[in-house]
Every structure is written in C-alpha cells, then in structure tokens.
Symmetry: C2
Subunit: 85 residues, 2 copies
Amino acid sequence: MRDVWSALSDKTRREILMLLKSRPHTAGELCDQFDLTAATVSHHLSVLREANLVKTRRRAQTVIYSINTTVLQDMLVYLMGVARK
Amino acid sequence: MRDVWSALSDKTRREILMLLKSRPHTAGELCDQFDLTAATVSHHLSVLREANLVKTRRRAQTVIYSINTTVLQDMLVYLMGVARK
DNA sequence: AGTGTATTTTGATATTTTTCTAAATAAGGA
DNA sequence: TCCTTATTTAGAAAAATATCAAAATACACT
C-alpha cells in the first residue's frame, strides 16, 4: 500500500481528488480534464488507488472512480495532533 | 515558497516535525535523531522552512528550529473540505 | 471471430529528490 | 588573528517519480 502523503504530494492527483469530491468520474472523463495522456492519468489513478484514496468499479467498458475519504479522515486526525496549540 | 504537500511527503521531515512538536531543537539535536549526515538533515530543514512549516532563530553558534503550525491549520481546513461527507 | 471503445501496462526517457563528501560560512573564545 | 564548534552550501551520484508512445487487456456489439 502506497503512502498517502506521497500520493497527495502531486498537484494533478490533488486535482483529481477535487473532481471526485463533487461526483464519481470515469477514467476517460478525468483524462479530459488534464493536458496529459491517458496513460499518465491512469498512472496517477493507480497511485491514488494504492493509497486507498479512491475506489473503482467497472461498468461495461468504463471504469468509474470515486473518492474514499476514510484515509483522509485519518490524516486529519494526524494533522490535528501535530497542529494543535 | 515550497509546496507544503511535497514538504510533508518525506518521512524524515514528518519525523522532524513530530520532534519539534514536543519542543524546539537545535539543528545538531535533530541530526542526532537520524542516521543521516548533517548536510542531509540541513537540507530537510531548509525544505521545511521554505514550506513555512518551521521557524528558526540563532543563538550563538547554534540554530534553533521550532514548529510553525499556521500552515498546518490551513491544510487541515483544506482536508476537511475534501474529506467531508 | 472480428471490430471499436475504454483503460491499463510496458518500456523508455526526462526531471526531481535524496543523499553524500568536501568546502564555505557563522560565531565564540584563547 | 587563529582555532574550535555548529550549520549551511555546492557539486555530484543514486534513487524515485512523471511522462509519453506503443502494446496489451477488457468488454460490448455485430
């Protein structure tokens, strides 16, 4: 399982998460939002999936990505611990 | 100003922040906690400083590092936005 | 089986990051 | 001024990451 911190260190991946926050997107829809090849976006999606930040389900030919907030909740707790006055 | 996300993506730097959470440390004290050269730790400290995650003050020959939680507070707000149900 | 669409994987290259050694800087004290 | 201690900077090597083009896989439809 990939580290959630390194997964979030990339701007593209954070933007993907913001898109998924509003609603689930297919891999193709996500590709359309970036000036990157499908291969590159697919790679970013795999990093997010390894970090458990997104979930996937397949519908026919398309793969639908949605956000998984449980790891972010954990991160929040961690950050509160560090940031607390 | 360096990105706070990439600053936090490194394990050593997160450990440095945890040490600074308990109390300020000199650069040398921080070096002692890691199996890394002083130059390397100094580099990590400069990354943390560029991200505004630590503050420094000099006392005689030593440089004292302390945590700056204001950026972490911002990050918390951001994460709450993404992680909110 | 063959074709078309959507997505992932592979293999290669370019860039970034981490780390080290050695040199440079900063400050105090003899 | 010279020496010692603490820290940073410069330069280089090694490791990790981002990116692309091309090939491979998955699935639906005819």
